[in-house]
């Protein structure tokens, strides 16, 4: 059935590359699930049902990966033979790290502020802007990547991961503050 050895781009019939058109990706995802999803085989044989669960799971995984700019970058790097150690490697860029520390402190001090939601909105706006900038930078590295550019992409990805983590913490704080309102 589904060729599990195909890479995610091939699976969706997309050219291998960092720039992916979100709406075409979503269209293809839906078209694929329309034929593979277990609902299509609810009355089928056990084998069909098993295969379709596996196929649909793979398509979901592929979609999640290609949809998210950070996951997509990591995936594309691994297709180019660069495996990152997500847990243990981190950027050494001091300027960037300093900036991150400041953002983090800002986030922490929010909890004590009077009108925290505006600041929160502003903060997550800045985080998103930084991520968008890095997305543009990494896209350039992936255009016709040589070793040097792949290493550069890897460094950008480290930073993206940082910011992504910070973004989810921002969301957590937001949830906490909202809960406190009630």
């Amino acid at each position: 059935m589904l060729d599990f050895s195909k890479n995610y781009f091939d699976l969706f019939g997309l050219p291998v590359g960092y720039i992916v058109d979100a709406s075409s990706l979503a269209d293809r995802y839906r078209d694929l699930q329309r034929v593979v999803h277990p609902d299509r085989y609810a009355n089928g044989t056990e084998q069909e049902r098993r295969l379709s669960v596996q196929g649909a799971s793979l398509i979901n995984e592929a979609f999640e990966t290609l949809k998210d700019p950070v996951a997509r970058a990591a995936y594309l790097l691994s297709l180019h033979g660069v495996e990152m150690d997500a847990q243990n490697e981190s950027t050494q860029d001091m300027a960037f790290l300093m900036q991150q520390m400041e953002l983090r402190e800002e986030l922490e001090s929010l909890r004590e502020q009077a009108g925290p939601f505006e600041t929160l909105l502003d903060l997550s706006g800045r985080i998103n802007k930084q991520i968008t900038d890095l997305v543009a930078q990494i896209a350039m590295q992936f255009e016709t990547p040589n070793d040097e550019q792949l290493q550069e992409a890897r460094e950008i990805l480290r930073k993206m991961r940082f910011l992504q983590k910070l973004r989810s913490e921002t969301e957590r704080v937001e949830a906490e503050l909202e809960d406190r309102l009630n």
Binding site: M1, L2, D3, F12, G13, L14, P15, D21, S24, D27, R28, R30, D31, L32, Q33, R34, V35, V36, H37, P38, D39, A42, N43, G44, T45, E46, Q47, E48, L51, S52, V53, Q54, G55, A56, S57, L58, N60, E61, F63, E64, E171, E174, A175, E178, D179, N182
Partner: protein, 624 residues
């Protein structure tokens, strides 16, 4: 002389014969069944014309009563009359300790992980209570449709965890039903609503019933219903509103906590009546008889009522906000909010939902029936009556799945709101030289500490080949299917040895227990178990034969060469013969045999359909 035309055995059935199916809304308070007839989905009434079936079962020595009849005995026979079983299903003995004080039952037996209620007719688990409700409704459908159901779709709250889903499926199994799919209630409502109104874009479904609350955010796009996020509280509903009012009455009447089970039921009923009255009027009188012929009289205003239930309404608002955030959509992007469930009739609820979403909530489809109708539409498609239909539901897992790591922490493997089905693998290794087994504890929930999450199951992997510590690489795959149910498989990578898995569900009935219950209920109905399981295998064989035949008719010519076709035909023929007079075991083996020998064809077909789906697009699309 005209030749007689004789159809090949098994082919006599026309391929597009209408298959009977139903959608069942198994509610905390009320349940319904619906089905699609002549292209229209509708709920089915009982002979008295009533569509709702109270989810109440009374267990007596003389037999079992279900629905309105049972509900009448709630006050007089509270210990044997079980309502709101849905609040208990898939829960453990520990949960009952928290819920138990609110429930007027006698809980017994801690031998099993499943709590049981002591009744005149024996100790009953919530799964069995739900099975009775399901049985009653499926009989209603079969009576109306004039034949056995080939499959049903049963709805569950989107926020139900894995154990609660599994327990619901077990109940269906006990009732002898073939479950096509467990469908999330808000998704079912979205189907009924979306297809009715031709809606597109982002919608919210706010579903507040008797015992559960769900909020789902969906994107509707050309027949695809994509759930972006779901949230809720599987223990929040109209029952809790009643409890608030009942506590208020007790306070006013100067009653202490030690009231009899019958009194509790009377208080709850009076509270519920008052609550429902306040939906229409601003003020209502309450009268409750208190033990010795005395009674308490009072009056409750809507304003007072609002302040009693506001904490509950607020709780649901918080879940809405969190779910919107998870979905990554802002309030403005939500085009409409659909209200589902009896408790959305409460004016305060409508007001608050309207405020939050900045829009007037939609209440124009019957909030009682919409879930069952959606389930019926889905069942009709799944059972195979609408080949080529464009509708597709993509749902999510409501709570994160994790495994216990050192220090009692939960490491998330699959995070909440991930689209299902989903599979994730994790590698484990051994601690000690020669270690041959590993224990894994799977939990569900968002909290960091395992103790704060829900224990789902403990797995033991055995048969790991002896190696030095840390050398074994055991890849464990956790898969969640389209019903939201978990399965686990494991393989030792370097040797390729499949590790055996022994599952111990934390809160479910074991297969053994279900088997026993099935046997008991069959003995009860005076049926021969042997005959029954043989029949089940025959039905499965028929399903396999039909599926394969339909496939051959569609693309057998195109996808198979002569030799392959012969192989498939031969396998079909053998299965047909065996299923006619073989025993259960033989039929089962033959099905497996056929799946092996025709597997290549099934795979080829799926690939083909994928290629077709993709051929509509070309790579150029991306090069503009």
């Amino acid at each position: 002389m005209a030749l007689l035309q004789i159809a090949e055995p098994g082919q006599a059935q026309a391929p597009h014969q209408h298959r009977l199916s139903a959608g069942i809304d198994l509610g905390t308070t009320n349940s319904l069944v619906a089905t699609v007839r002549s292209g229209k989905a509708e709920t089915l009434p009982d002979p008295q014309g009533r569509h709702l079936l109270p989810s109440v079962v009374r267990y007596r020595q003389s037999g079992i009563e279900v629905g309105y009849e049972a509900k009448q005995s709630e006050v007089d026979d509270p210990l044997n009359t079980i309502s709101s079983a849905k609040r208990l299903i898939g829960r453990g003995v520990d949960d009952i300790k928290t819920l138990g004080s609110q429930l007027p039952y006698d809980f017994v037996g801690q031998q099993s992980s499943v709590p049981r209620i002591k009744t005149e007719a024996g100790d009953i688990s919530p799964v069995e209570v739900s099975a009775e409700v399901l049985r009653q409704l499926s009989e209603r459908a079969e009576g109306t449709l004039g034949g056995p159901l080939e499959g049903v779709v049963i709805t569950v709250p989107a926020y139900f965890d894995e154990a609660q889903r599994q327990a619901t499926k077990d109940a269906a199994k006990l009732a002898g039903l073939h479950v096509l799919r467990l469908l999330n209630e808000p998704t079912a409502a979205a189907v009924a609503y979306g297809l009715d109104k031709g809606a597109e874009g982002v919608h919210a479904i706010y579903d507040l019933g008797g015992g559960t609350f769900d909020i789902s955010i969906l994107r509707l796009n050309k027949g695809v219903f994509e759930v972006l996020a779901t949230g809720g509280d599987s223990a929040l509903g109209g029952d809790d509103f009643d409890r608030c009012v009942a506590e208020w009455i007790m306070q006013q009447a100067g009653l202490d906590e030690n009231v009899s089970p019958g009194m509790v039921k009377r208080l709850m009923q009076a509270a519920c009546t008052a609550k429902e009255a306040l939906t229409q009027t601003e003020q209502t009188d309450i009268e409750v008889s208190i033990e010795a012929g005395e009674s308490w009289q009072g009056s409750l205003s809507r304003e007072q009522f609002n302040s009693l239930v506001d904490p509950l309404v607020t709780k649901s608002m918080m879940a809405c906000r969190r779910t919107l955030r998870d979905a990554g959509v802002s309030v403005d992007e939500v085009q409409e909010v659909v209200m589902v469930g009896g408790s959305t009739r409460v004016p305060r609820v409508r007001e608050k939902v309207g405020e939050l979403f900045n829009t007037k909530p939609l209440v124009d489809i019957d909030p009682d029936r919409v879930v069952a109708v959606g389930a019926a539409i889905q069942a009709d498609i799944l059972v195979g009556n609408k080949p080529g239909d464009e509708m597709l539901l993509l749902d999510v897992i409501p709570l994160s799945l994790g495994i216990e790591t050192m220090g009692g922490l939960s490491e998330k493997l699959i995070s909440r709101n991930t689209t299902i089905p989903v599979a994730r693998a994790q590698e484990f290794t051994t601690f000690k030289d020669g270690q041959s087994a590993i224990a894994i504890h799977v939990v569900q929930g968002e909290r960091e500490l395992v103790a704060d999450c829900r224990s789902l199951a403990r797995f033991e992997l055995r048969g790991i080949p002896p190696m030095v510590a840390g050398a074994a690489r055991i890849r464990v795959t956790f898969a969640v299917d389209a019903d939201g149910l978990l399965s686990v498989s494991a393989i030792e990578q370097s040797s390729g040895v499949q590790a055996n898995i022994e599952v111990k569900p934390s809160y479910g009935l074991t297969d053994q227990e279900i088997e026993t219950m099935l046997r008991d209920s069959i003995a009860h109905a005076d049926q021969d178990k042997q005959a029954r399981s043989q029949r089940e295998q025959q039905v499965e064989a028929e399903r396999v034969i039909e599926a394969l035949q339909a496939a051959l008719a569609e693309d057998g010519e195109r996808l198979l060469d002569a030799k392959e076709r012969q192989q498939v035909d031969a396998a079909l023929e053998t299965l047909r013969n065996v299923s006619k007079d073989g025993d259960q075991e033989q039929i089962k083996n033959q099905i497996a045999e056929l799946e092996k020998s025709c597997g290549f064809y099934v795979e080829r077909r799926m690939n083909q359909s994928i290629q077709q789906a993709m051929s509509g697009h070309s790579v150029d699309e991306f090069e503009q």
